[in-house]
Subunit: 353 residues, 2 copies
DNA sequence: AATTAGCACTCAGGGATGACGAGTGCTAAA
DNA sequence: TTTAGCACTCGTCATCCCTGAGTGCTAATT
């Protein structure tokens, strides 16, 4: 059977309608829509065809139709109309993106919350490193108070971490100089695995008065490096799922959310084709997610740092809207972190070029 | 009417039982408990008395009794038996507390998650500063790559923050030295409000080659200071609430959780009397939380940094257990951050004293 | 005086029943 | 090819009744 233009039009109308109402849609409702110039009986016939072709399903003999996974797939691939962010929306999004403090993990949690609020669905953000193993690029040790030192570790992934070390040692400025020289000489360009106990004791021997600081520093350094390899998952707004009619049943919501824990999310297949990828129902990994879809998009913020943001929702979700908003966020992230930062130019004459 | 020992014993049994089952408890069930040497009829009489005295309630004429708020209050104040953490529990808790990276906000989210997992309830963690306004104690600027600088800001609250600044400027080592000298001279001991545009332009004038860095740095500094004043709220495990029978109704769970948003939590009255405070039902702020209790405890980790951790749950929650676990976490936090850190002493001969 | 057994009473919960209505498929007419 | 008409299906909702757990009261017992 052929998929005529009219069939497509009807299918789209059905999916659109179902997305709004979450209830099986009947022939009469479709016939009543503006732009539909045929009677409900005709629609019925077409719907019967679409059902036969596998794009629609019938929950029971005498209910309306709901889109099948294949129907959704067709919808997101061909039928869906792009959702245009309204001016209001872009404004609010822009305001929201002006994050207070640009620490990366805080930003990720913030972005997660925002995506979740904007889509009214649970959202996740995954960060991951690509490229070479993280290594140390540079150490710096500053003395703070008596017995307090600040260790600053820079890695090749352009991350800078610091730690305040409080130890009842009295060390001279020159000892710290020596210590950082030794550290830089011995540990630069090493990855976490390459830092062996032998190296540690070697450093310790040459560290002079600051020898007791060495184990702490090395320990911290290794942790920083290890943490760089990890990908972090931020999952927020789980409760939003309860707002969706298909998850009014607590059991179901719990099932979905316990299946989609941070572990699983971290291992979701990264989107490859196109900016936004949509996983519809059974295409997903676990069979518990049968009625669940995942929409996700990649972001890339340079320095070997990239990740995904996405949302989880019922198969019947407003793909167009969600897609538009997700992409907007991903772009925004790229804009925020990817480029070199320019001063806010609060003063007149702010030229840095 | 007098509250005899036997009445107390019965009340305790009722609350204990209700905590387990979440269902109204009848006289027969109590009479059957070990240690109860009277018949169900006697229990019934006592229960009638307790109801009259306001400690019990009857959902309807012919159901068992449930504790009233007053009953809970009496229970947590006098009747509750201390829950002893089992060795298994303390061990697991200890393991869990060995957090990977000791950045403070990560630790807080981690602690939130752990508390939530251990109590099976939504948990929150609130941090707050006490004492003087945050001011800058020390600046340090390190040059990283060509055109990359690391700004390290230390505040009087013993916090150290850093930021990687990428600007296409080529600045010599000595310029940075000058810059940090100027910054330290001009901004030390100032709070966020005291950093005026005048000061900014003064610094800028004296900063020499690095003048273009100044606005960024000052901007960041102000943000760091402002952030220090904020109290952060970490709320996790909201979904746990759905596991509790009284919140199987989605509406109710949503209501409670939307009432108890981060805003509200941040403004919960800080516990004053004793280590753990319990807010039972109507004692709480909003009437939506009628059937909800909050158990919270303070922690104090020195350096003017303190906060609360707590859980939210049905009025019928296992107060004894929750209390014990919360205190344990609070203690652990104090232990982790309060004391000076000693090296892990992986090498033999690790004496730092 | 306190405790207990017995009994009538109450009421929420759960299954059965039936009316209702939205939606369908089919047929015949346009 | 489209449409009107009609019989049929089946989920939803309201109603009803039954069951059982639990109570309060009274009278007997210790």
């Amino acid at each position: 059977m052929e998929l005529t233009e009219r069939k497509k039009k009807i299918l789209r109308a059905i999916v659109d309608c179902y997305i709004q109402t979450a209830e099986p849609v009947g022939s009469k409702a479709i016939a009543a829509m503006p732009g539909m110039d045929v009677s409900s009986a005709t629609i019925r016939n077409e719907m019967a065809d679409l059902t036969e072709m596998g794009y629609l399903e019938q929950p029971h003999t005498s209910a309306g139709r709901i889109p099948s996974p294949a129907g959704y797939r067709l919808y997101v691939n061909e039928l869906m109309e792009g959702y245009r962010l309204s001016i209001d929306e872009t404004q609010s999004l822009n305001e929201a993106m002006e994050l207070k403090l640009q620490e990366f993990d805080k930003v990720m949690t913030q972005v997660g919350k925002m995506v979740s609020n904007w889509t009214n669905l649970p959202a996740y953000a995954v960060t991951s490193r690509v490229g070479q193993l993280p290594t140390v690029k540079h150490f710096e040790i500053l003395s703070a108070d008596t017995g307090s030192f600040i260790l600053v570790v820079m890695t090749n992934t352009e991350t800078v971490k610091n730690k305040l070390i409080k130890l009842p040692l009295n060390i001279q400025e020159q000892d710290l100089k020596l210590l950082s020289a030794v550290l830089n000489a011995s540990l630069t360009d090493l990855s976490a695995e390459q830092i062996t106990p032998e190296i540690l004791s070697k450093i310790r021997k040459s560290a002079g008065a600051a020898a007791d600081l060495v184990p702490i520093i090395v320990d911290y350094t290794v942790r920083v490096l290890q943490e760089q390899q990890h990908s972090d998952v931020y999952l927020t707004g789980q409760m939003k799922l309860l707002g969706q009619p298909e998850y009014r049943d607590v059991e179901k919501a719990q099932e979905v959310l316990s299946t989609l824990d941070e572990e699983v999310i971290a291992n979701l297949p990264a989107p490859t084709d196109g900016p936004v990828q949509i996983l519809v129902g059974p295409e997903n990994i676990a069979k518990e997610l049968k009625d669940t879809s995942v929409v996700m998009t990649r972001f890339d913020i340079g320095d070997g740092m990239q990740g995904m943001i996405g949302v989880v929702g019922p198969t019947r979700m407003d793909y167009a809207q969600v897609t538009a908003r997700l992409s907007y966020f991903a772009e925004g992230l790229g804009r925020m972190f990817g480029k070199n930062e320019l001063p806010p130019a609060k003063e007149p004459d702010g030229g840095t070029e």
